[in-house]
Structures are given as C-alpha cells and as structure tokens.
Symmetry: C4
Subunit: 271 residues, 4 copies
C-alpha cells in the first residue's frame, strides 16, 4: 500500500505543486494545452474557417477533450479529499470545460459550453507565481486589497450617479431619441461616464446634449479618483524598500532592507 | 404629555438616527424599499414588460407609494421643526418621489416624476456612514474637498478650451458636416476632449481632422492633471501626518502625529 | 498736463490693473460682457433661433460691438506704448473680436470672424488671479512647467507611434475599408490610441482588428505616463509645506512652514 | 592607407556619432530628409492630390530615394563590421525604405513598402539624445523599465479578462447582434474595456448591455492600475534618492545620495 500511496503522493506533487522539475513541466504543458484549446474554440466560432476545416477541428477537439478528461481523472484520484476539489471553483470549471463534447452526443446546442474553457486561463496566474513576475503581481495584489474599500465606495458612487443621470436623460430625451427605457438610459449613462462612448445611443435635444456634456466632464474628472487611490497605495507598498530601523550609533533611520552598515556613520546595524 | 414626547422622541431616534438597533433596522428596510421602488420604476419604463404585467406593477407601485407616504408623515411628525425638513433637499426629494401616483388622478403625464425617486438613492450615503466603509469614504471626501479648488480651475480651463475649439471647428467644418451650430460644435469638442467619442458627429475635412487630432491628444494629455491632483491629495490625506488635536494653549490645529509640543506656542500637547 | 496724465494714469489703473475697487469692477463687467458676447455668437449660430429673433440679436450684437470698440480705444489711449498692446496677442484678439460687425458692411462672409471672440475668454485667467483660486492655479502651472519637457517627449513619442501604426493600418486595411489615405489612417490611429474611438472609421479585416487591439491596449497602458509625470510633479510642488530647517536643540527636521517652535522639544526655531 | 582609414574614420564619426559639429549637422539633415520622405508618402496616398501632382511627387520620390541610397552606401562603407549594420534593426529598416522605388521597375505593387519609411522616424530618438530632452526621456525610460514587470502582469491580466468576457458575450449576444465569432467578440471586449468604444459592434440584448456595463466600469476602474504603477515609479526615479556610485571596496551600487559609508561593507565612499 505504501507504494500506491507514494505513487499517489508523487502524482499530487506533480499536478498540484510546482516545486519539482516534473511539476513545473506539467504546469507548462497544461498551459500550452489550455491555450491550444482556447484557440481551437475561437477558430471553430469563425464560420468561414469552420466550414473548411470542420473535420480537422473536430479531431483536435476530441484530442483536447480526452487530454482534459485524463487530467480531470488524475486530479480527482491524486487528491486526498476529491469532493473538495470537485466542488471547488477550479474543479467546476475543469469539469464544465471537459464535458461539452460528450454532452453533444445527447443534447444539441450544448456545444456553446465549450466557450467556458476560456475560464481555465485563470489557471495561468497559478503558474505565474513560479516566475520572476511573482514580486510584481504581489505588489499589485497588495495595492488592490488595500484600496478595495475605497474603490468599492467609488464604484458604488459611480453606479448611483449613473442611475440618477440615466433616469433624468430618459425623462429629457424619451423613446423617440433612442432612450427607450430607464435601464437603457442607465446603460447609456455608464457608456458615457466611463468615456467609452459607443454612439449607438446619443442625445439629440439641446438639453440632453448639455446634460451629456456634464456627464462627460464628470466622467473625465472622476476617473482621477480610482487612479489616485491606487497610485497612493502602490506608492506606499513599494516604499517598503527602506526599513524603519534606527542606527544604534547615530540614530539615522530609513536604511535599505539589505543594509548591514549604517550609511551615515558606518557602524554595524542589528540584523 | 411626557409620554407623547417620549414617543415622538423615540420615533425621531429610529428615523433620523442610527445608533440604536431599531434605527439601523429602519435604515436597512428603507434602503431595501428605495431600491425596490427604483427597480419598479425601471421595469415600468420597459414597454414590453409593462404591457404584460401592468396590473401587478400598478399594485406594487401603490404599496410603495403608501409606504413612502407613511414614512413621510412620520418624518414630519417626529421632528421638532417640520418646516426645516419639508423644505430641505431630502424633504423635497421625499415628497416628489411620493406624490406622483396621487397626482396621476388629477393630471395625466405627471407619471414621469416617479423617476425622481432615483434621487432617493442618495440616502444610501447616510446609511453607508454606519458601516466599515466610513473610513474609506472619509478619506475620499477629504481628498475631494482638498482638491476642489484645483479641480475647479482645471474644469474651468477645460470648458474654455472646448468653447474655443468648438467655435474653431464650427468655422472649419460647417453645417454640411454635422457641425450645425456653435453649441453643437462645443458639445462635439467636449465629447472629443473627454475621449468619449460617440461618433454621431465626426470631422470630414482634412483640416478638421487635423484639429480633431490635436484636441484628442490634448485630451489624452490633460486627463493627467485631475489625476495628478487627486493622487497627491489622497497620498497626503492617507499619510495621516497631521492629527486634528487643538493645542490646549493657543488652539492651533494640525499638529504632527508625533508632536509633543505645539509648533506655534511651544506648550505641551496632550498625548 | 499733469491732470491729463493723471487721468490717463487712472484709466490705466482701472483697465490694466486690478488692485483698486474700480479695477476689480471693470474686470467683472468685462468678464460679463465677454460671456454675453459669446452666448450671443452661439445663439446666432443656431439657425432656428436666429430666424425668429434675428433683429434682437442684431441689436445686441451692435451694443456689444460698440462696447468692445470703446474698450479697445480706451486700452490704446491709456497705455504708454500703444503699439506694444496693439500687436500683442490680446491686442490682436481684442481687435479681431470687435471689427467683424463693421467689416460686414464691406465684405459678406466676414461674419464668421465673430467666433474668434471665444478667444477673449482667455482673459478670464487674468481675472482669476485676483481670487482665492490663485494658489490652486499656481500649483497647477508650476507642475505643468516642471513636466513640460517630459510631456513633450511623451507626446512626440505618441505622434511617431501613430504615424507608424497609421501607415501599417493603411497597408493592411486599404481604401475599401475606409482607410483611404495615410493621413486619414494616422487620424484613425490617433482616435484609437487616445481611446476616443469615434467609430466613423473602423477596421474590418481580422488582421486589422488584431493590430487595432494592440493599439488600444497600448493607448490604455501609456495614458499612465503623462498621468505619472504630472502626479509626481504635483506631489512635489505641494510637498513644500514642510521646510527642511533642523531644530537648533534636538535637530529634528521637517517643521511646518509657519512653525515657531520645535514640535519635538518645544525650543524656539530660527525665523 | 592611413589616409583612407582616417577618411573612413571621419565619415563614421559624422554618420554614427554626434559629438562633432558635422555629426550634429548630419543628424539634423537626416531628420529633415526623413520627415520630408514621410510627408511625401502621405501625400502620394491621398488620391486627389496624387492625380494632380503625380509627376512632381515622382521626381521628389526619386530624389529622396537617391539620397537614402547614398546614405545607406556610406553607412555600409564607413563601419568596420558592415554585416552587423546590414542585419541590424535599423539596417533592415534603412534598406526597406530605400529599395521600393527600384523594385517598382520589376514588381508592380511593391510601392506599398514605401510606407515602411515611417519606421525611420524611430531614428529621431537617437537625435533627441543630443538635446536638453535627454534628461526627461531618461527619467521616462528608467520608470518604464522599472515598471515593465508590473505592466506586463497587468496587460496579461487585461488580455485574459478580455478573452473570458468576449467569449461570454459571444454566447449571450450571438451572431445576430454582430458578435459573429469569438475573436470578434474578444476584439469588442478590448474596444470596450479600454474605453475606446468604436460602436461598430454594440450589445443589443438587455443581458448583453448589463455585462457590457460591468466591462466598462471595470475598464474605468482598472485603468488606475498602470497609472498607479507608473506614477510611483516616476515619483521614485525623480526623487533621485540613490546615486549610481559604486562602493570602491565591495562595488555595491545604489547608495543614498547623502551616504558617507557603504551600506554593505562599511568602507568610506568618495564624496
């Protein structure tokens, strides 16, 4: 039994961890397979391409499906608590991106589920952790988390503004000018405030254009707020390159993290 | 009379304050009612939905109207100076979002006033104060207030630029290319400078496109200004270098957090 | 002669300076007149409005023209070196925004020059100097000047990128898809990179859309550069609230500019 | 032979370096020629202009081609390792922007290669180095390099988000509403997230508009991230806290500007 256990243990190490050479190799192969599978889904969705190479695409689709099936089974086998994996976010994504091809025998139209495979791309971030980008993404994450509350308040404020302004625009412009309902007007207000500006709906009355101008200038000005929030958070989180230790001899502060001697008097610092 | 007073007092506590359990509950119920009422107005404005479920929506509308009426009456009763509430910003909003249904018996077309109900969403910010987001929204408010003067100067500058550039574009492009009047050209200049770009009006002549390019690059560059302003203000206000303690001797405020003595008169500060 | 000189001197004080009560009043009246004249030009450009009230607008236009004429003559009379004013930027603007009505007797079509009056709005900034916004606009100006070189390099870089990408898009999309010439393609590249996106020209081929995607993501990322530049400049220029003086007793630094006593040990600071 | 060598050496100095007066002159003349050649290509691409002045443009094109040919030959002759230049990035660009006119005798359609000449504009940056903008562009470059890792992680994140959201929108909206394939939907997601918003494709279903709203607000919020990154990097690099001096004992670099002793080994630094 020890052998089997060690075999499972080894598999777990390869699939779920990335410290060993095999683990890293597995992650890279998986990443390539995911990207290939997404490219496949993309190509299938292009009609002109699908008509020409339908058979080739179908074969590739089966290869990917079988590979993902094997991976899914290995993941379930090698983990100690399979149910925890199966009902985890990644577990559900993995299953949903594997089964559509099998389901297509039973149901017609289940094919669209294949597109969910794009969500597997999120696994990339796990693999990124192993690279030199870990520091960069950590700084970003720390800054994101620190500014979460402020960004939430801001986005909440933006949504309320859009509901109010969208409702006002619905009253001013009316259905004749494309503002057929309040939800649609709110959608337009979001399109405008975020400076996207599709132009599928645009105000026609002078008063509507005046209020639209205010919304646009508002959007142009308040984009400064999330930027300001994140800027100051990133500045803070990347400031931590100096520590706050004071030199035991001259009491100068703000030494570099890797400093062994005081930059001012040359005496030895405490580790 | 003491009893009645205490009953009024208690009602006031529940409706206007949020320190007690009942007060918090009232605020949450009110918030849910406001959101429900707005969703209702939105659904009514969608023609296809309104045609199917007109009766249900009408009943819901009456329930909301009656609830808001009761709330409005209670607010007037429980406050010491009812007129001050009635003519306050929130008082007017509350009235305007309650009466349209009653008015619809007398006037046809008053229905649109219902949309003003969206303004009641602003009450949300009062309720937010009670949550953990108070700190976040305070930092934002402080930064907003501190940068108000600079942002005003900036927006003023943007408006002047848009008037000048809009006028120039009117002269260059003319009515044939959609720039039918100066206000419309100024509207276009705002759409372009703020990088919204609806595309309902677009320059057709080479010279017009050249000036449009300059406007766009200008807009792309000067968006940096409000961002820079807010960034530095948020950075400042989140540094918390100054506390709000007043010197017990000279009443000067804004001492540094680590200050032991008043920087103005030299007397000892309270810890 | 002294009397005349003093009369001229007084006029100069009122028109060109703003220290006296009369000078401030003149500036405010002038500002109101400028805004009125611009509103007038705007209303005239709206066809439906001009048809109805042509006579009234014509009378107002003559009043404004006469007022501006008087102002122009007074400006020329009251200054010591009239030629310097006449050929200065403001002098030319003032003249050009005054004469079109007179010229309309001689030439037809000179009416459009009236629109140049919008440039007179720039005078507003002179008047702003007198208000509490002076500090705010100064900080902005200092930051602008400090970041001029960096912003120039950045905009230069943006223009080169747009020329290169516009040329490439011309080769890929061609005249059939709206990219009729290289200047037009460069115009499109600017519209896209600055995230304006009118949509009057849009790539149709897959390769064109792919490159457009790269342009858009590039534009989305490099907008960070001017923002970063201005942010750090504003942060620097508003940091100067603390001076670098060290306390003569405890050597603590970073005292407030208005501090008289050390915030750490309470001893008197040097003025 | 010494004479020839010194002649070559002198030519090399003029063409490849810019320390001498002749070198600077050469760079300026080259820059003017490049700009002229690009203007020429642009004008040729404008049909109405090309029809009128085809002959003049053709002559100018030949003059530019001959000048560039001479420059190319001189560059190859004067350098010690001609192959290194010929196969360098600039070498290939120089060749490709010179030969199309010759090729047009042999192949029809090779004319479009002329547009590659726009890439020669990149040489401008070499010339910029000589001006007072060198400091500004260096600060920018340092900040760019320092934030490369973080910006990469961010852009990678943006691309993944766009693939996922594009796929979801393809499933919701479908080919009937313009989302004809997944690549096209991903293109739309990029257009929307970067707040460009052409409007050539726009969601029609309520659910699609709801998700589009989320994408837009997301794009509006996450633009803060690159801005924050670059801001803090520019703030850091313009603070000049560290100098580039290497410790004479241990060769560690990046000492603080006010450092008297090496932070790593404690030995005295040069003033």
């Amino acid at each position: 039994m020890t052998k089997k256990h060690s075999w499972k243990h080894r598999l777990h190490e390869i699939i779920y961890e990335a410290d060993t050479k095999e683990g890293k190799l597995f992650d890279v192969v998986l990443l390539v397979a995911i990207i290939a599978s997404i490219l496949l889904v993309m190509l299938e969705s292009v009609n002109s391409f699908d008509e020409k190479y339908h058979n080739y695409l179908n074969i590739c689709e089966w290869i990917i499906t079988i590979l993902f099936s094997i991976e899914y089974i290995l993941r379930v086998i090698s983990i100690k608590k399979p149910l925890r994996y199966i009902f985890s976010f990644y577990g559900i994504i993995d299953l949903l991106s594997t089964i559509p091809k099998y389901l297509s025998f039973i149901f017609i139209g289940s094919h669209h589920l294949v597109a969910l495979r794009a969500l597997r791309l999120l696994r990339v971030f796990r693999i990124l952790k192993l690279t030199r980008y870990i520091g960069a993404s950590n700084t970003l994450l720390v800054a994101m988390r620190a500014s979460k509350a402020k960004i939430s308040v801001f986005l909440f404020f933006v949504v309320i503004i859009c509901i109010i302004l969208g409702t006002i625009m619905y009253m001013i412009e009316g259905a004749a000018n494309g503002f057929t309902s309040i939800p649609r007007s709110v959608y337009w207000a979001i399109v405008t405030l975020t400076t996207v500006g599709f132009g599928d709906i645009a105000p026609q009355t002078p008063l509507g254009q005046f209020i639209a101008s205010i919304i646009m200038i508002l959007g142009y000005a308040i984009i400064a707020i999330p930027t300001g929030i994140v800027s100051s958070e990133i500045a803070k989180s990347s400031k931590d390159e100096n520590n706050t230790q004071a030199c035991p001899n001259c009491l100068k502060e703000k030494h570099k993290n890797n400093a062994k001697y005081c930059y001012n008097c040359g005496s030895v610092l405490n580790e």
